[in-house]
């Protein structure tokens, strides 16, 4: 089974206001098609770890591999490209561009990647919206749809470039139990049907218990 994401001896320190060792020698692996969750108490460093894995935070020690390629120490432009092509994000907040339509929001990362023609991208976007059952919203402005729908649009946007892994930072944190259930089922389906890898940070135990693997963290260490 191929490894999508791997860290070797990752350490991170917060230097302000006092020196603080946040992450202590983190070694994790996420395999292809695996649905993993990271759990732990507030402040244990799970989000910090996720942002290192996401390549957005570059201030750490150790090695990070995506698709078996070492990406620690790469240039900002290269990292942007990797995020664009290989990683999809879903956050607690949806972060949709409110002036754009749902369709445009979903298409944006693919337009940036620029590997396909506009027509193909639009087709892809419709297909992703269909997977998430929200294709009827395509032409609506992102600010005009409900919270649960926004989160699903955000998932569609994360999927548009067919990434190697989806990372989520409390993706159900702002949703009611019905919508949270919904989002979980979508993730589960993507994992099973499409063979997508997922790494979700959460402190919702019900959510975590239903995933393939739980990575438990405490005080900057994996237990």
């Amino acid at each position: 089974m191929s490894v999508v994401l791997e860290t070797k001896h990752v350490n991170k320190y917060f230097k302000k206001p006092v020196l603080f060792h946040v992450l202590k020698n983190i070694n994790i692996k996420v395999n292809k098609g695996e649905f993993a969750s990271i759990m732990g108490k507030s402040g244990c460093g799970k989000s910090t770890l996720l942002y290192i894995l996401s390549t957005m935070d570059t201030d750490y020690e150790g090695e990070l591999y995506i698709n078996n390629e070492l990406i620690s120490g790469e240039s900002g432009d290269k990292l942007s490209y990797i995020r664009n092509k290989h990683i999809g994000f879903v956050f607690q907040f949806h972060y949709l561009l409110s002036e754009f339509t749902v369709l445009e929001n979903v298409m944006l990362p693919a337009k940036k990647l620029g590997e396909k023609s506009l027509k193909e991208i639009e087709q892809d976007a419709y297909q992703k919206l269909k997977i998430l059952d929200i294709e009827h919203l395509a032409k609506k402005r992102a600010s005009r749809i409900s919270g649960g729908e926004k989160q699903r649009v955000a998932i569609a946007r994360a999927l548009i470039n067919n990434p190697s892994i989806i990372m989520g930072d409390e993706p159900t944190g702002n949703l009611d139990s019905h919508n949270a259930e919904n989002v979980f089922n979508i993730f589960k389906r993507l994992s099973v049907d499409e063979g997508l890898s997922l790494l979700i940070v959460t402190h919702d135990t019900d959510f975590a218990n239903k995933t393939d693997r739980i990575i438990q963290m405490s005080d900057g260490e994996i237990i």
């Binding site: 942007s80 995020r83 337009k111 620029g114």
Partner: protein
């Protein structure tokens, strides 16, 4: 690699959804550029008119024979009193004639020079205008009417009649407007003039001359060279003044020095004669540019402010763009292109408004005694001003957009996303 289509599309949507703020920012640029174009066109038009007032009728070099005492008195040549203190009483001017010796060959020589546009002769004579028993003192200048018109825009100062009329009528005179008023004369009438020697000649008035300076108009008249020579009883080579117009005014000083040495005549260049006019021109230009730049700086602050606010408002958008793979440079370009679009749209509108206002000013009636041929305010429609104005607009919006865009480039998405 920057995908401009995507970037410009985002910039466009940001601008269009905030059309009010966008138009206010663009209007700032529009007013700045419009004011610059209007000011600079009007000011330089006015400058050119005022300069022409002096330059057109003033020769670049004026050559004449100065009546003055010899620089070397006979006593200076006597070396036996070399080291003594010498006092000479009642020095008289050197006995010489008013006319320029060998004037015609000198004119011919000057006209062959490549730097000279034209050298034309004049005769200045003191005369009296006779009205019944009253004699009015005056100046009569003998001119070659067609050449004067060609080189010194003489026709601009004729309120009635033309230079051709003077050229065609041997005994014609162009009477100063002041003289004409005093003696109740008009074109077609005859006026009698008397020379200092007392000879009386009747001349036919073919035109009225008006320089705008009442003192000159009250005494000055013009007649043909030959007419004046005949009145004075002089030969055809009697010339008192030579006026030279050059292709390049800047050469006037050097040339006048050369002429003085070569011909032993007095030669005055235009800058020595009119030192003050250049100062006025440059001060008016400085004022124009100072006002325009101030307006553009104010407009620039407006753009800076609006973009800065936009970036605070769009913090989340910037974070997610960066998270989904847009580089810092892409984000910077999104905001830079917004500033530049505001600059281009505002600048073009400003050019149009500036042109419209200039046209309006150009049609406002403006009548002055000094320039009988000018009927409306002078405006200089120079393409360069429009180019400079547009470049101004681009530069000021570039700087106004640069700092906020740089800030957007540096925003750390992790901080924004974790801060939610």
């Amino acid at each position: 690699m920057i995908n401009w289509k995507v970037i410009l599309n985002i910039a466009k949507i940001h601008l269009v959804t905030r059309i009010k703020q966008t138009s206010i920012a663009a209007l700032g640029v529009t007013f700045g550029i419009g004011a610059y174009i209007t000011l600079v066109s009007f000011m330089t038009g006015l400058n050119a008119m005022l300069d022409n007032l002096i330059l057109n009728q003033t020769p670049h070099i004026h050559i004449y024979n100065e009546i003055e005492p010899s620089k070397q008195q006979p006593l200076d040549l006597y070396d036996k009193v070399g080291n003594s203190f010498k006092v000479i009483h009642s020095i008289k001017p050197k006995l010489s004639q008013k006319k320029i010796h060998n004037a015609l060959p000198i004119i011919k020589y000057l006209n062959e020079d490549d730097n000279v546009k034209g050298a034309i002769p004049q005769i200045k004579a003191q005369i009296f205008y006779i009205a019944g028993s009253i004699e009015l003192g005056g100046n009569l200048t003998g001119i070659n009417a067609l050449d004067e018109a060609r080189f010194f825009n003489f026709q601009n100062y004729l309120v009635k009649g033309s230079t051709e009329d003077l050229h065609n009528i041997t005994n014609g005179i162009l009477l100063g407007s002041g003289v004409a008023d005093k003696m109740s004369l008009d074109v077609g009438d005859r006026v009698q003039i008397s020379t200092i020697k007392g000879d009386i000649f009747p001349l036919k008035i073919v035109g009225i001359y008006q320089s705008g300076l009442a003192e000159i108009d009250a005494i000055q008249s013009f007649a043909n060279l030959k007419t004046v020579q005949r009145i004075l009883g002089e030969a055809e080579n009697y010339i008192t003044d030579i006026n030279v117009k050059l292709h390049d005014m800047e050469l006037a000083f050097d040339m006048s020095q050369k002429i003085e040495k070569q011909f032993k005549l007095k030669a005055i260049d235009i800058k020595t004669a009119n030192a003050q006019f250049e100062t006025g021109t440059s001060i008016r230009n400085i004022i124009t540019y100072a006002v325009s730049i101030t307006l553009l700086i104010v407009a620039g602050f407006g753009i800076y402010n609006i973009l800065n606010m936009l970036i605070y408002e769009k913090m989340n958008d910037i974070a997610i763009l960066k998270a989904t793979g847009f580089s810092g440079k892409d984000v910077q370009m999104i905001f830079m292109s917004q500033a530049m679009i505001i600059g281009i749209v505002g600048g073009v509108l400003g050019l149009i408004i500036g042109f419209g206002l200039s046209l309006l000013i150009n049609n406002v009636p403006f009548e002055t005694e000094a320039l009988p041929t000018i009927k409306t305010f002078p405006v200089n429609f120079n393409g360069w001003f429009y180019l400079i104005g547009f470049v101004f607009a681009l530069i000021s919006t570039f700087f106004a957009g640069y700092l906020p865009a740089k800030k957007a480039k540096k925003i750390d998405p992790v901080k924004i996303i974790r801060g939610q």
